[in-house]
């Protein structure tokens, strides 16, 4: 019997070994794949176990966290949600994250290993770091001015600090409140289906993700190309331009909205936005130089991130002469995001230098100590400094004497350019009203702000839609807000 008891004992030992080996298989070998299984809610639970870090505008958080005492414990809250939604995006337990909530998620959620005082020790203790904060470059007053200016319209505003590329305002209208999307209940699902079904697409970030034909605001680029290429040496000299101008190789005749464009000088043509002169200039500059200048301003760059990705603005590289003429006045296939046009204005204001725009000034640890600062940004020379000086003068003319009078600010130097972009089949759509501008206070050494405004559906009747009437006042409000505040140390 003893022998058989021993055998039965060995059998039980075998069972024990099988259990131990299997436990090791599950807990060590298979564990990583189980952790990644979509049915495993632990990553979500861990993620929402602690309040999320905040996004700061002007030193004040525009986000918060609410303790729901539920399984997914902390939910995102937003202050002035619709105003900042094109910057913050949303952080939803059901629908993930977008925009800064998405690109800065590592810092905000505390997952970023940089937040750990001793990274390896953290792996060992499994402690999760408290979420860090994200300090934005936004100028709260400028953002508010842009948001209020666009109220009731469809459109977007982007404002930059020309010398640094800091984004001072980024607004898209109509907007939405990200707050109802935060949770995981049926209210979040309802809000989601309502927002996604809305034909006005409130969750579309028009300032960076939507491209529009830039219309006459693109004449800034064409003028820069013409001056840089030496096609125009004297901006006061009359150009040999017929009105109307027959597009090369076609019977189509290009006309102007304003009078007095025949043989107008470049300066006059810029001030009164003569299509004929700039279409002809573009043809004279040639495709290669036009493309090079447009790309120097940032057109064609699909890699720009602020840190969320910006839609590619386009200037076609294969055009016939007529298409080149139309492209040079911001029509045909020329398309730009509002942010791109703000970069154009900023380049003029900044002596011809383009700085890539950015939205995150720095990220901090929970205590406020700096985690990372905005690194150096790509700088390109879009035009000669001398060209920028002449363009600045021309843009000031637009505001002082031309189509951009609504943007004038007492006691400040303001330069601008209006645009009315036609779109739709046979120009059937309501034209887009554009305005790009920059402003320099009388005590400032350099322009402090560059703005681009686009209004998709200016509510005046069609004949009166113009960048000067609808978009310029919004730009002025944004510029005034920036000029009123004391100059910030540049980041």
């Amino acid at each position: 019997m003893t022998r058989h008891i021993r055998h039965a004992g060995y059998f039980c030992a075998l069972l024990l070994v099988a259990l131990l080996l299997n436990a090791a298989r599950v807990q060590v070998v298979q564990a990583p794949s189980y952790d990644r299984n979509p049915g495993n809610r632990r990553p979500d639970i861990t993620r929402y176990e602690q309040p999320r870090g905040d996004i700061l505008v002007g030193g004040r958080p525009v986000t918060g966290s609410r303790d729901t005492r539920e399984h997914l414990r902390y939910e995102r809250t937003y202050t002035d949600g619709p105003m900042y939604a094109p910057v913050t995006g949303f952080a939803s337990q059901l629908y993930g994250t977008t925009l800064l909530e998405n690109t800065e998620d590592g810092v905000l959620s505390g997952a970023d290993p940089m937040l750990a005082p001793f990274p390896l020790w953290n792996d060992f203790t499994r402690a999760r770091n408290a979420g860090g904060d994200v300090v934005t470059t936004l100028h709260p007053a400028a953002q508010e001015a842009a948001y209020r200016g666009l109220a009731g319209h469809k459109g977007a505003v982007a404002a930059l600090e020309p010398s640094t590329g800091r984004i001072l305002a980024l607004v898209s209208a109509p907007s939405y409140d990200p707050q109802p999307l935060s949770g995981n209940g049926s209210a979040a699902a309802r809000a989601w289906s309502r927002l996604t079904a809305d034909k006005d697409r409130p969750m579309l970030n028009r300032a960076v993700r939507q491209t529009y034909p830039p219309g006459s605001t693109f004449k800034v680029v064409t003028a820069a190309a013409a001056l840089d290429a030496g096609v125009v040496t004297d901006i006061e000299a009359p150009t040999d331009t017929p009105d109307p101008y027959p597009l090369p190789g076609t019977r189509t005749r290009l006309t102007n909205a304003s009078k007095g464009c025949a043989n107008a000088s470049v300066r006059e043509a810029f001030t009164f936005s003569c299509n004929t002169v700039f279409a002809k200039l573009g043809v004279e500059v040639g495709l290669a130089d036009m493309t090079a200048t447009a790309h120097a301003f940032g057109f064609g760059n699909g890699e720009l991130r602020v840190p969320f990705p910006v839609a590619r603005s386009t200037f076609d590289t294969s055009l016939d002469q007529a298409q080149l003429a139309l492209s040079s006045i911001g029509q045909y296939n020329t398309r730009a995001t509002p942010l791109q046009m703000a970069m154009v204005a900023a380049a003029v204001a900044n002596g011809g230098q383009v700085r890539d725009p950015y939205l995150v000034e720095r990220t901090t640890r929970p205590g406020g100590s700096t985690l990372a600062t905005a690194g150096s940004r790509a700088i390109r020379q879009a035009m000669y400094p001398s060209t920028a000086v002449r363009l600045r003068a021309m843009m000031r003319d637009v505001v002082e004497n031309g189509t951009g009078r609504h943007a004038a600010i007492r006691g400040a130097k303001v330069g601008g350019k209006t645009g009315t972009a036609q779109h739709g089949l046979g120009n059937s759509g309501t034209p887009y009203a554009w305005f790009v501008s920059w402003a320099q206070g009388d005590r400032d050494l350099a322009p402090r702000v560059a703005v681009a405004v686009v209004v998709e559906d200016a509510e005046t009747d069609r004949g009166h839609i113009s960048g000067g009437g609808d978009a310029a006042p919004i730009a002025r409000a944004v510029m005034e807000a920036v000029l009123k505040s004391p100059a910030q140390p540049s980041g």
Binding site: M1, T2, R3, H4, I5, R6, H7, A8, G9, F11, C12, A13, L15, L16, A18, L19, L20, N22, A23, A24, V26, Q27, V28, Q30, A31, P32, Y34, D35, N37, P38, G39, N40, R41, R42, I45, R126
Partner: protein, 454 residues
């Protein structure tokens, strides 16, 4: 032949009439104190992890567990001084750890607190342990009650059929708010019956009857009654859909038959029958069929968009634990759902104590089983041997079936992890098992000492 005989003769020293085995009660006491301290430590760890403060009941919990354990220890000192000093401390530690885990899970389900009831049942269990140790002076007395045991076991097994089903299985009877699982008690009674019957008939089983190929079949007159009992109990369990326990009884039956008769053929027959039965039941019974499918692909329900099932949640919990665990109180095994405190209690241990903790728990069970087998080996008379082996096998098989089920090694069958899981009947039964093992081991070592129990 002669050489072998000489070897045996020299290896077997003459029975030492005066040699005294050490009693080692001091070691048992020290280990009990350690077990209680470990449990209190776990209780405090949960409180610190969850509330940042020592739980208010820590002192009371420690005192309660300590007093129970000390009373049990005194009973052993008094009436079973030669008993194996490891059995009782292992029971105390496993029971204490179970209480910690249930208390910890109670924090997740404030509306459904199971720890207080479990504490009451643990007290009853230890009381039963003390009663058995004090009153059952010699385990051989049980042999007189062979048929009382089998009748009682069958009655207990059939009783729940008269009561409404809970969660699809008729395993419980509810009296005054307490639910009792009579099948749990039936385990011990059947183990006693099998041991007693096989001890009484082992020669007839081994040496009579016809021989088919290599298998010596006992006569139907000898084998008949025990097969009948086994068939009835398994049949009842199938009716009650308690397939885990029927598997347990089958394994117990085969192991004891093998040990009693020494015939390897029984193992082959047992395995064959087990495979045939498993295939048949797996094919025919929808409940079991779905469990087998779940076992084969635990994540099918996730891919089907129906969320994670219990087994998948259990595997996620084990995986989250990794080597060292998340720490007591810091896991999310509550996601497993309603059986988290009972069938799936091991998943909480796996998540919060890690592979290290689970390995320690398995080794504790292994040690308990090993001490059971050792008691059987040291015992000289066949009933005691078979009883100890049967009880140890019961624990081993039960741990294997439930632990293998929740870790995806074998298809899941609902069973209670001995001592750890929520469930009063189970705790009481396991204390009875430990009490009987203490009794058998005491008698074995006492007789080795040359002093008969009476």
């Amino acid at each position: 032949m002669s050489k072998a005989g000489i070897t045996v003769a020299t290896a077997d020293p003459p029975a030492p009439a005066v040699r005294r085995l050490p009693r080692r009660r001091g070691i048992e006491l020290a280990l009990i104190v350690l077990a209680v301290l470990l449990s209190v430590y776990g209780y405090c760890a949960v409180g610190l992890a969850r509330h940042g403060a020592l739980p208010p009941g820590a002192a009371g919990y420690g005192a309660g567990l300590g007093v129970l354990a000390l009373l049990a220890h005194l009973a052993v000192r008094l009436r079973a001084p030669y008993a194996d000093p490891l059995l009782l401390p292992i029971g105390v530690l496993l029971n204490g750890l179970g209480l910690v885990l249930i208390y910890r899970l109670d924090l997740e389900t404030p509306g459904d607190r199971a720890a207080p009831a479990q504490l009451v049942w643990s007290t009853l269990g230890v009381a039963l342990f003390i009663l058995v140790v004090l009153l059952l002076r010699d385990h051989r007395v049980l042999q007189r009650y062979t048929y009382v045991c089998v009748v009682a076991a069958l009655i207990l097994l059939t009783l729940p059929i008269l009561f409404p089903a809970v969660n699809g299985a008729r395993l419980w009877i509810r009296i005054a708010g307490f639910s009792i699982q009579p099948g749990e008690f039936a385990k011990v009674l059947l183990a006693v019956f099998f041991a007693a019957y096989l001890a009484a008939n082992r020669n007839a089983l081994a040496y009579t009857g016809r021989r088919i190929w290599k298998l010596q079949l006992p006569t139907g007159r000898v084998l008949g009654p025990i097969v009948a009992v086994w068939l009835v109990s398994v049949g009842v369990l199938v009716l009650e859909r308690d397939l885990g326990t029927s598997l347990l009884f089958f394994g117990l039956f085969v192991v004891l038959l093998y040990v009693a008769t020494g015939r390897t053929g029984w193992i082959a027959v047992g395995l064959l029958l087990a495979v045939l039965g498993a295939v048949a039941v797996g094919r025919l019974e929808p409940h079991v069929h779905s469990r087998i499918e779940t076992w084969l692909d635990p994540f099918a329900s996730i891919e089907a968009g129906e969320g994670a099932n219990q087994l998948a949640q259990s595997l996620f919990a084990f995986a989250e634990g990794g080597m060292l665990g998340t720490g007591l109180g810091l896991g999310h095994s509550v996601l497993i759902g309603f059986a988290v405190k009972s069938d799936f209690i091991l998943a909480t241990a796996g998540e919060e104590l890690g592979l290290a903790g689970i390995g320690a728990v398995f080794l504790l069970y292994g040690l308990l089983v090993e001490r059971g087998f050792r008691a059987g080996l040291a015992q000289r008379e066949p009933f005691g041997r078979l009883l100890a082996v049967g009880l140890a096998t019961l624990v081993a098989l039960q741990v294997f079936v439930i632990a293998g089920g929740v870790t995806g090694l074998i298809p899941l069958t609902g069973m209670a992890m001995p001592f750890l899981a929520q469930g009063g009947s189970s705790v009481v039964t396991n204390w009875a098992i430990v009490a009987l093992l203490v009794r058998v081991s005491d008698s074995a070592r006492r007789s080795y000492d040359g002093q008969d129990a009476r």
